[in-house]
Amino acid sequence: MSIFVDETTRVIVQGITGRDGSFHTRQMMAYGTQVVAGVTPGKGGRSFDGPDGTAVPVFDTVADAVAETGANASVVYVPPAFAAGAIMEAADSEVAFIVCVTEGVPVLDMTRAHALARDRGSRVLGPNCPGIICPGRTNLGIIPGRIVTPGPVGLISRSGTLTYEAVHHLTRDGLGQTACVGIGGDPLVGTSFTDCLAAFAADSDTEAVVMIGEIGGTAEQEAADWVGANLDIPVVGFIAGRTAPPGTRMGHAGAIISGSSGTAAEKTRAFEDNGIKVAKRPVEISALVAAALGR
């Protein structure tokens, strides 16, 4: 199984004709994702060429794309100035699952976009996230398909390339994945660690979960408490930023220690207090998962 999406998910791409959007749409299609349409305002009526002679129609609006194709998910690759608007357009068309890859979206724009998505019942993943890949089924975002393989591990992360690093080791060690989810490095993200944990808990194929966190905020601490209270399967954790100085943003807009809150030490303690084994190095994650699964 998988979480949030699967091989039947019908995906539109907002910003399909852009540089990043077109490149990653072809990657997603090559992986087997059902991309049914693209949306670029002003380019409706055109056709987008996918891999191997495939093509998908391009629409001016999400509403038109949904009406014509029955799409129920969207991946947003539009520039930062228009990204929140694109999310709101998708939510307004009742697209159930919206992935926003764009980095650099103004935070106040996102307060409105998240509020509308909540009202419309849409789940937003991101922004500033690599998306979600369900190995062998579907890929919504930019996670490279060749580093994953199907199996029993669920993975949740705030990061992109650090996720790849961890997945790479899991795959190499024969520990495949049900889904790998990048929730995003921004301070306000639509889907939390806890949302993903609850989804993995409900998935009978997921036998262990990996949580990759970083400094800033309290999302990892809340997720750890949720694990302690609710989850029966083993969880392995990693926290990036042990050497980060306080009060300084480390690349991700959300990665900042405020006062004494949001430190790696505090998050590691929350993990350990709730029975989550914490890897000291990325390479240890896979070994801890193997041990937890008795392999």
């Binding site: 650099g104 307060t111 970083e214 905020g217 050497t243 991700h252 959300g254």
Partner: protein
């Protein structure tokens, strides 16, 4: 991006707020001239991006213009937490009866702006939060409606029992929220918001941070950036689109992705070394960015070795290799380079580097251990 107090006050005044007047000066005679206009009884305040200005002696009261000039001379020569003071704000003193705190920031859990007020103003609000949290009143604001009159009034009544003062405070709370949203801020605060013996409520300090992601559509605010508040390396990194944070160690790090960059620093420390910096070259694969990154890292004299850790996804390893080769050709590194490349086009990248007599490994642990060894750090294998 942090604004100076005088800049934050300009934004507040533009929102119609009652703010203590003031003018900036960058030399002592200028400060004296401003003080004379205000009748001599003034406060002279250092304009630097740092808290604790008062404790550092950067805020001084003067009762004559001549005294203001002396204070300005002392403050303008100071460094506060490593930052040179280049400007002072000279403002008339106020007859303070009460001091309150009002602030707005975006709350990560509530996912909306939250207004905080406290009748215990004029002190460090984090300290109030730690010692007396009940003294702070919080209100989440739905960004689609903005602050509603009854909300501002309710908060104001937590600050003042007197209806006349509370009405003024409510107006200022609304204006602060509007200035926060209208300028794309991530934080705006007034500490203290005073009431005077004459029954006036006004802001006498102001602090604003702007969300960096808003600057592209706010050129006037982007123009408020103080070049002196930024090191040459920071300015260069910003211009090149790199995320860079200078640290004190000897292992220069160049990584793609913020999470992996943090994990790389942590691993340097784990193996007994000290990272010289955080540097994320980002997701794109532009050789120019790699060149800029190397120029920034090599300009740091503390760097003994440069460590590349690249996991190619969108970033193509061959583009990074091209950047490395270009940089090596253009400049003398002066320090050894160790490279880890995995992912998209790694074979091609490895060939390109091999042709130039350079090698790359595939394991993050291997490359970090090697970097720490070359930096002369204690190589402690903790396994």
């Amino acid at each position: 991006m942090n604004l100076h107090e005088y800049q934050a006050k300009e934004l507040f005044r533009a929102a119609g707020m009652a703010v203590n007047p003031g003018e900036v000066a960058d030399d002592p005679p200028g400060a004296r001239a401003v003080a004379e206009r205000y009748g001599g009884r003034v406060v002279v305040k250092a304009q630097v991006h740092s808290g604790g200005r008062g404790k550092a002696g950067g805020v001084r009261l003067a009762s004559t213009a001549a005294e203001a000039e002396q204070h300005a001379a002392a403050i303008l020569g100071m460094e506060i937490r490593g930052l040179a003071v280049e400007r002072v704000l000279v403002s008339p003193t106020e007859d303070i009866a009460t001091e309150a705190y009002v602030g707005v920031l975006v709350d990560r859990e509530a996912q909306c702006p939250v207004i905080m007020v406290s009748a215990e103003g004029g002190v460090d609000i984090e300290e109030v939060a730690a010692t007396n949290p009940e003294a702070i009143h919080k209100l989440p604001v739905d960004p689609r409606y903005g602050i509603m009159p009854h909300q501002a009034w309710t908060l104001a009544t937590r600050l003042h029992g007197d209806a006349g003062l509370a009405r003024q405070a409510a107006r200022i709370i609304s204006q602060l929220y509007d200035a926060f949203v209208g300028n794309g801020a991530s934080m705006a605060e007034i500490n203290p918001l005073i009431s005077t013996a004459a029954g006036e409520v006004k802001a006498i300090d102001a602090k604003v941070s702007i969300d960096d992601n808003e600057l592209f559509r706010r050129p006037a605010i982007a123009g408020m950036r103080d070049p002196a508040s930024e090191s040459a390396a920071d300015a260069k990194a910003r211009a090149a689109g790199l995320s860079f944070v200078k640290l004190e160690g000897s292992v220069g790090c160049c990584v793609n992705g913020a999470g992996l960059a943090m994990a790389t620093m942590d691993l340097v420390k784990y193996y007994g070394g000290e990272p010289a910096n955080f540097l994320d070259i980002g997701g794109s694969s532009n050789p120019d960015k790699v060149v800029a990154a190397l120029e920034i890292i090599t300009a740091d004299r503390g760097v003994k070795v440069i460590l590349f850790n690249i996991f190619g996804g969108i970033t193509r390893c061959d583009d990074v290799a091209r950047g490395i080769l270009e940089a090596v050709e253009r400049m003398d590194m002066g320090v050894p380079l160790v490279i880890r490349l995995t992912g998209t086009n790694e074979e091609l990248a490895r060939e390109m580097l091999a042709d130039a007599g350079m090698a790359a490994v595939t394991s993050m642990d291997d490359v970090v251990r090697e970097a720490v060894r070359l930096a002369g750090g204690d190589h402690v294998d903790l396994r």
